[in-house]
């Protein structure tokens, strides 16, 4: 009996260990399901050149006919690509930005599960390393590639990249030909017009009259009546870890919305703001369906448009009307807007500094008129203010997750403003000339990160109380924001570079994800930290929402 009992105990122990191991396996399964492998298991195939070379870094895209959702994956060093599991149905299969290759479009393609697709064979347009300026190719060039390819001094190009970089793509400039007098009229309006609407004209421009004349002269030289499109120098295609990503794009119901910010709610929806129209919207990424909301009418003679949009912890949506000078609050359940007139001195149709931050207690923070202010969200009345000694205000506004720190890129000068609300300390460090810090976010260690229009990623190290700057790997690209994820990695759109960056502060290494569309006016982003790896969202100025899902 005793022996038997011992054996039974051993058996029970063995069963317990096995059970524990099995439970551990099943418990581990959801974690495993969160890694990048969940983004595989769909249609797959190989991309080759017509002479049989395996092609790496080609963007293979499937467009669903029913929803118009576009999914893009990247071929690896063996030319192999694999989509995530996609809804069964009819699709268009194509190569996004074929560039040196002829376009490839195949439709209809029926997809059902892990379909093995025919090899994609691509024919070269040219064997030259420079691309000839055929219209199809010119349209695929990023702003960076335009600037690499056009003649001109670095100084002339710098005039453009630090002053003309946030409102539109560079192709919107370079596709044109004007004489010098006409360039002068256009540049005057751009340089002297307030904000992106350009309705109110200021006598004093964004830079000096001498620089304005130099920019006009250069544009008339490279984009004058007789200027030829250049042969294009191109940036390299993605390789290795840069191909380990899935990018999904969603159409919006309207054109010319000048879409600006995104923010996610607790139900997995993505909200977007529109910069120069009355509509905001809510995308359901599962279906691609968008519900539009019409912001209450603004006053006569005032341009409608929402700049900042933010979904709070209760799924209430907040937005700023940068031209009408209101804050609004939307309860999605009742679909009721509350409009809060914002007490600013600026004239309507000029920017009111419309980037704000909500703290955990529901107060709005902003930096304007030489002070950082904590204000009551429903009235705009100040609760607490911190005086700035150096800078007039900030372009962006961010709060640390615990509500202790405020941060923003200084405006209009080069620097950063950080406030410690616990100690009332105010930090106003300078950054390098024309670095242009703008919007950003605090990382888990409370360091403030900011995207710089001069193509510089800027960190205010909270422990060291000093600035660190990191230059983008892609030339002529600009930053608008820098977002920190739960792991401390930093993300942001490389405007005009056609790429989205990921920066690891521990290794100081960059990963650049090539975007399916080349112009990349990707301003504010939102990071979904509930997935592993994280999921990054932005809305392109040209009117589609983009989801970036790294595989690792």
């Amino acid at each position: 009996m005793t022996m038997s009992f011992r054996h039974d105990r051993k058996a029970a122990l063995l069963i317990a260990i096995l059970t524990f191991a099995l439970v551990a396996l099943f418990v581990a399964h959801p974690v495993q399901a969160q890694d990048g492998s969940r983004l595989l298991g769909g249609p797959k195939g190989v991309v080759k050149s017509a002479n049989g070379d395996l092609l790496e870094g080609m963007m293979v895209q499937l467009i669903a006919h029913q929803s118009a959702i576009r999914t893009t994956v990247y071929s690896d060093a063996n030319g192999c690509y694999e989509f995530p599991k996609l809804a069964a149905g009819t699709y268009t299969l194509r190569i996004a930005q074929p560039r040196e290759f002829q376009p490839y479009v195949k439709e209809p393609v029926e997809i059902s599960g892990p379909t093995q697709l025919d090899d994609i064979m691509l024919e070269r347009v040219t064997n030259s390393d420079l691309l000839p300026p055929y219209r199809e190719i010119v349209a695929q060039m990023t702003g960076s590639e335009w600037l690499l390819s056009l003649s001109g001094t670095g100084e002339e190009k710098r005039l453009l990249t630090v002053n003309c970089n946030w409102c539109h793509s560079y192709q919107q400039i370079f596709r044109n030909h004007y004489d010098e007098a006409s360039w002068s009229k256009i540049v005057y309006r751009m340089i002297h017009g307030a904000g992106s609407p350009l309705i109110n004209i200021n006598t004093r421009g964004r830079f000096s009259a001498e620089d304005e004349a130099r920019l006009v002269h250069w544009l008339a030289t490279v984009r004058g009546p007789d200027s030829k499109d250049p042969n294009f120098v191109t940036l390299p295609r993605p390789q290795g870890h840069q191909t380990r990503v899935v990018i999904t794009e969603y159409e919006l119901p309207r054109l010319e919305l000048a879409t600006h910010d995104v923010s996610g709610d607790s139900k997995g929806n993505i909200w977007y703001s529109t910069h120069r129209s009355s509509y905001i919207g809510r995308l359901d990424p599962r279906t691609g369906v968008v519900k539009e909301f019409h912001v209450p009418p603004v006053g006569a003679g005032t341009l409608p448009g929402t700049h900042w949009i933010h979904v709070d912890k209760n799924d209430i949506v907040w937005g700023s009307e940068n031209w009408a000078h209101n804050i609004w609050r939307l309860d999605p359940n009742t679909q009721e807007f509350t409009v809060i007139p914002w007490k600013v001195k600026d004239q309507v149709n000029s920017p009111m500094g419309g980037n704000y931050a909500l703290d955990p207690d529901g107060f709005i923070w902003k930096a304007r008129d030489k002070k950082v202010s904590k204000v009551a969200a429903m009235t705009g009345d100040p609760v607490t203010s911190y005086i700035l000694k150096k800078f007039a205000g900030t372009y962006g506004s961010a709060m640390s997750s615990d509500g202790r720190y405020f941060g923003g890129g200084a405006w209009p000068r080069d620097g950063v403003v950080v406030v410690d609300s616990k100690t009332a300390e105010v930090f106003e460090p300078d950054t390098s000339h024309n670095s242009g810090p703008a919007r950003g976010e605090f990382d888990p260690q409370d360091n403030y990160w900011s995207g710089g229009r001069g193509g510089v990623l800027i960190k205010f190290d909270m422990a060291e109380k000093r600035i660190h700057e990191y230059s983008l790997p892609t030339p002529y690209a600009s930053l608008y924001t820098a977002m920190a994820d739960k792991n401390g990695e930093i993300w942001g759109g490389e405007m005009h570079g056609g790429r989205y960056f990921r920066f690891n502060p521990k290794t100081e290494l960059w990963t650049e994800y090539l975007l399916p569309e080349p112009y990349g006016i990707d301003r504010e982003s939102w990071i979904d930290n509930s997935t592993d790896p994280v999921t990054v969202w932005y809305v392109d100025h040209d009117g589609w929402i983009v989801r970036i899902q790294p595989l690792e």
Partner: protein, 160 residues
């Protein structure tokens, strides 16, 4: 949407036929004109690349007043809008007796105004083609002007 899909199919068919033939129609290579000295083959157009639609002002339509509206938004609206002061409004332009320069209002005089500009207006003669101008004036004549409260629908959006 059907027009766009048909357009893509035509482009795809042309491309496939050219590949099947194993050779492309011989034509002066642009690359040679540009001095590269390499043979090149002009690519077919794939309008599913949004950038090409953007570049050619063809997001809303291939031609006609809807395309004209898009050109208007990018080339005219930033001055001729409902909010600016001291810049001529264009609503009802064709119902007016004359342009500011005194000429009668018709497609030819309006196109000339756009081509040549004025003391305060850029000249678009080198940047807008004749088909661009035709689409633009068809919008200005019959559908003007832009409504910031109701931007045009996106033909690509079809999730329901």
């Amino acid at each position: 949407m059907s027009a766009k899909r048909g357009r893509r199919k035509v482009a795809g068919a042309i491309f496939a036929a050219a590949l099947a033939a194993g050779s492309w129609i011989s034509r002066p290579a642009l690359a040679q004109q540009q001095g590269i000295g390499q043979e090149s083959k002009e690519p077919a157009k794939d309008y599913d690349q949004r950038a090409l639609e953007i570049y050619e002002f063809k997001k809303a339509a291939q031609s006609g007043p809807d395309r004209g509206r898009e050109i208007f938004y990018y080339k005219c609206w930033f001055c001729h809008n409902e909010f600016t002061k001291d810049i001529p409004k264009l609503e009802g332009l064709y119902q007016r007796p004359a342009l500011i320069n005194g000429q009668s209002v018709n497609d030819d005089t309006v196109k000339n105004q756009i081509r040549n500009g004025s003391a305060n207006m850029a000249a678009y003669r080198y940047t807008l083609s004749e088909s661009d101008l035709n689409d633009l004036v068809s919008f200005v004549r019959d559908h003007c002007c832009w409504d910031s409260d109701s931007p045009p629908p996106n033909p690509r959006y079809r999730a329901r």
